[in-house]
């Protein structure tokens, strides 16, 4: 009984060895890109082209002939040289490339985007819009209606607009918008004026009209405005200085930095509450250099807290710049 089974096992064992020994050269030569030439009886090192497109399922034309597979696909066992590749899908612009293939290497084209011939454009607003803004979370869109001077809000994936605020007559068109991190206030500003628009529906319910608050800016032309992460403080960069003020009527701005450079630019990192800006400095060699500075406005950072306290006295303080 055992003898018979051991005999079967013996056959199975050697069959496995045979499969291994015969299969391994094929697998390894495929992996390494070798192709057996039946005419010369030699292995030739080849390369391959890997194609992936967005959207997938596009036809591949290899040397102007339709390839058997659609994208994503691999064209194997190619002798070194240049090949004409076209990836085409109906209603999309084709992707065409002359691809150079090297022995033992892969030419990867795995980020092909096929752009539609007729772009899929969808109208999102029904009224004439003056301007629009998408919040940082990318889930709401706001727009100002030119006809009735109102601000509307909708989810990005619907057209269900609802009025969130009035926009008073007589105010010139804002050049930029800044939505507060908590999504409850909107800052509109141009070169000379800064307006605070509350977006909470209840603020309109009581009076029937949204109170748009013009905020005071000390001096100069507004370059940029940013919300502090607390959604309460506003950082205003003008061509003369950097100011901080509270989002409320009659808030007195505090000068954080007096700028030497008229045409500065600034970036505010709201996650860390750090302002990066450009300014000029007179160096020891008598020359003026433009440098990038950072101003930490994190509420845990003492200078900012102290500055905010000073606001009540209407005093400003210049932050020492670190060159």
């Amino acid at each position: 009984m055992h003898y018979k089974e051991q005999k079967i096992r013996f056959v199975l064992y050697w069959l496995s060895v045979l499969v291994f020994l015969m299969g391994l050269p094929s697998i390894l030569s495929y992996a390494l890109g070798y192709k057996f030439n039946t005419r010369t009886l030699r292995f030739t090192k080849t390369g391959l082209i890997a194609l992936k497109s967005q959207p997938a399922g596009a036809n591949i034309y290899f040397e102007k002939k339709l390839f058997k597979d659609k994208t994503p696909a691999t064209i194997n066992e190619l002798l070194p040289g240049a090949y004409h590749i076209k990836v085409a899908l109906e209603d999309y612009y084709p992707w065409v490339m002359q691809v150079a293939v090297e022995a033992g290497k892969v030419a990867r084209f795995e980020k092909i985007i096929l752009f539609p011939i007729r772009p899929n454009i969808e109208k999102l607003s029904n009224e004439s819009s003056l301007s629009f803004w998408i919040d940082d979370k990318r889930d709401s869109i706001y727009y100002v209606s030119q006809e009735n001077n109102s601000i509307y809000k909708s989810e990005l994936d619907t057209q269900d607009y609802r009025k969130v605020s009035d926009f008073p007559h007589g105010v010139s068109a804002p050049i930029k918008w800044r939505l507060s991190p908590d999504g409850e206030k909107l800052l509109c500003f141009d070169l000379h004026q800064l307006l605070l628009v509350p977006l909470r529906p209840q603020s309109t319910a009581a009076s029937g009209e949204t109170k748009v608050l013009p905020l005071d800016v000390m001096q100069g032309t507004i370059v940029d405005v940013f919300w502090h992460s607390d959604s309460y403080h506003i950082i205003v960069v003008t061509d003369k200085n950097i100011e901080a003020l509270e989002a409320m009527r009659s808030s007195k701005p505090v000068t954080l930095v007096s700028l030497n450079k008229n045409s500065t630019c600034a970036f505010y990192d709201v996650r860390a509450d750090i302002l990066y800006f450009l300014d000029s400095q007179l160096a020891g060699d008598g020359k003026i250099y433009d440098n990038i500075y950072r101003l930490d406005l994190n509420s845990r950072f003492d200078p900012f807290r102290e500055l905010m306290k000073l606001r009540t006295n209407g005093q400003g303080q210049k932050v020492k710049k670190n060159p």
Binding site: S16, V19, F20, G23, A31, L32, G47, L48, G104, V106
Partner: protein
């Protein structure tokens, strides 16, 4: 350090250093020569898949034998034997070494003996307790009162703690019990040649025809004293109650043992098994200071009989408990420790090679073959999952832009992915077979558990990750560093 001790230390270092050498070489190769590493990985993966397919075929053959012999009336076959092979002269001595096991663990094992088709007046049962267990005498009293009258002999022994030259191992306890049983057997005037000893774990429930099957094979085997008799261990006692993770691990362990039963030239005793009592006495019982007593007893007999010793597979089952605990994490720890203890069988390698070096009669080719098999099986156990799971993706991860622009860099994940798709067929076979070795579902378990027991095979990759190679590598590293493992019995139920 004397010469023998130095030699032993060198041999202890070999398995671990080979395993670590393979792993580290592949890691270094992946960084320095990713293409070469990828080639080795493809060769290994292909080898592993062919091997898995081959072993699964053996599993199907073993399964076929197991179920082909399931309903056989072994006692009738014993009766049909010629008078010179008189089965009635045989006595079965069954030893249950126990430490901290409660009566409720031992009771089902003794009940299973009572249910045996083999005459109980031909059975001697020894409950081998450890004297250091404070509950031992009370537990012995309870079980003695329940079972003493059911068998020809029923002994309870208490192995003293701290005997010179002994470790706290199961082998030491079993040896003490076997010596006590020898006194009993001698007092009854029974010849040692007519006694077959079975050393069972405390939770081992033997199938009712186990002893008849064992007697038949003993009586019909050429040189019956030069063989151990190995049943198929299954973990059916609590398999329906055990959590998925533990269940899959133990089913896989049963399958591995079924596969081994088909590879007779490599077959070694494992867990609960039987052998001639005369042989046990002749070879000087189980080693009293080694953890892997179940396998080392085979090698001891192999060396004693100069290579003319074998393991006869018995296609009957002995059922044990699945080791699990109160939480998933504790179950993983428990399973890990159990597998590490099994992997500690690597201590057989220095034992065997030292024995081979002292021997002048076993053929050199035989020595090399058996020594290599033992070493290869432990090294493969310690590296395979690490190569497949961790080193496989390494060339892609650390090979950088150079490797990724190579054809092999592109093809490696495709080829390995494709190769392992073939293992789905073998997995399907394992799933089907796992259903067939299950005992019938207890009434308190809902039928939906059947669905779970198929779906749970999806966690096999996680099991491979956790228990594939790491327990074996751990055991080999400990042996390599001389951090010897104490015997920690696995408490099966918590």
């Amino acid at each position: 350090m004397d010469r023998d001790r130095r030699l032993r230390r060198i041999l202890e270092v070999i398995p671990g250093s080979i395993s670590w050498g393979i792993i580290l070489s592949l890691v270094i190769l992946a960084v320095l020569k990713p293409v070469a590493c990828a080639v080795i990985i493809i060769i290994f993966d292909f080898y592993w898949i062919i091997r898995t397919a081959y072993l699964t075929t053996l599993l199907v053959m073993a399964y076929h034998k197991l179920f082909g012999q399931r309903d056989r009336d072994w006692l009738a076959q014993c009766r049909a034997l010629p008078p010179e092979r008189n089965w009635q002269r045989l006595y079965h001595l069954v030893i249950f070494p126990a430490y901290q096991e409660k009566p409720q663990t031992l009771r089902p094992s003794l009940e299973a003996l009572k249910q045996s088709t083999y005459p109980k007046e031909k059975m001697i049962v020894v409950l081998a307790f450890e004297e250091r267990d404070p509950q031992a005498r009370a537990n012995a009293g309870i079980l003695e009162a329940e079972f003493k009258r059911d068998f020809f002999g029923f002994l309870t022994t208490f192995h003293p703690d701290g005997l010179a030259g002994e470790g706290r191992t199961k082998g030491a306890n079993a040896t003490w019990a076997a010596k006590k049983a020898k006194e009993f057997i001698g007092s009854k005037g029974i010849r040692y040649e007519e006694v077959i000893i079975s050393c069972f774990d405390a939770d081992t429930c033997a199938e009712n025809n186990y002893f008849a099957c064992l007697s038949y094979h003993f009586l019909t085997s050429p040189k019956p004293h030069q063989a151990s008799y190995q049943p198929i261990p299954v973990y059916n006692n609590n398999i329906w109650q055990a959590p998925s993770f533990a269940r899959i691990v133990e089913i896989s362990a049963s399958f591995c043992q079924m596969i081994e039963s088909m590879r007779l030239e490599k077959f070694v005793t494992f867990s609960s098994h039987s052998m001639s009592f005369k042989t046990l006495v002749d070879i000087g019982y189980w080693p009293v200071n080694m953890v892997s007593d179940d396998s080392v007893i085979y090698w001891k007999a192999y060396l004693f009989y100069k290579g003319e010793y074998r393991v006869v597979p018995l296609y009957v089952t002995v059922s044990m408990d699945v080791a699990y605990s109160s939480s998933f994490f504790k179950t993983i720890i428990k399973q890990y420790r159990q597998k590490r203890r099994w992997a500690w069988g690597v201590e057989n390698f220095p034992f065997l090679v030292t024995g081979f070096l002292c021997d002048r009669e076993i053929a050199v080719v035989k020595k090399i073959r058996r020594g290599f098999h033992l070493l290869e099986s432990h090294v493969t156990w310690a590296v395979w999952a690490i190569i497949v799971v961790f080193i496989g993706p390494l060339p892609i991860l650390v090979g950088g832009a150079f490797f990724n622009q190579m054809t092999i860099g592109y093809n490696l994940p495709k080829i390995t992915g494709l190769l392992f798709h073939f293992t789905l067929f073998t997995s399907l076979t394992w799933i089907i077979l796992s259903r067939t070795i299950l005992p019938s579902r207890p009434r308190e378990i809902g039928w939906t558990k059947n669905i779970l027991m198929i779906a749970e095979w999806a966690i096999v990759p996680f099991i491979i990750l956790v228990l594939g190679s790491t327990p074996a590598l751990d055991a080999q590293t400990r042996l390599m560093l001389g951090k010897y493992m104490p015997f920690n019995p696995t408490a099966k139920k918590e």
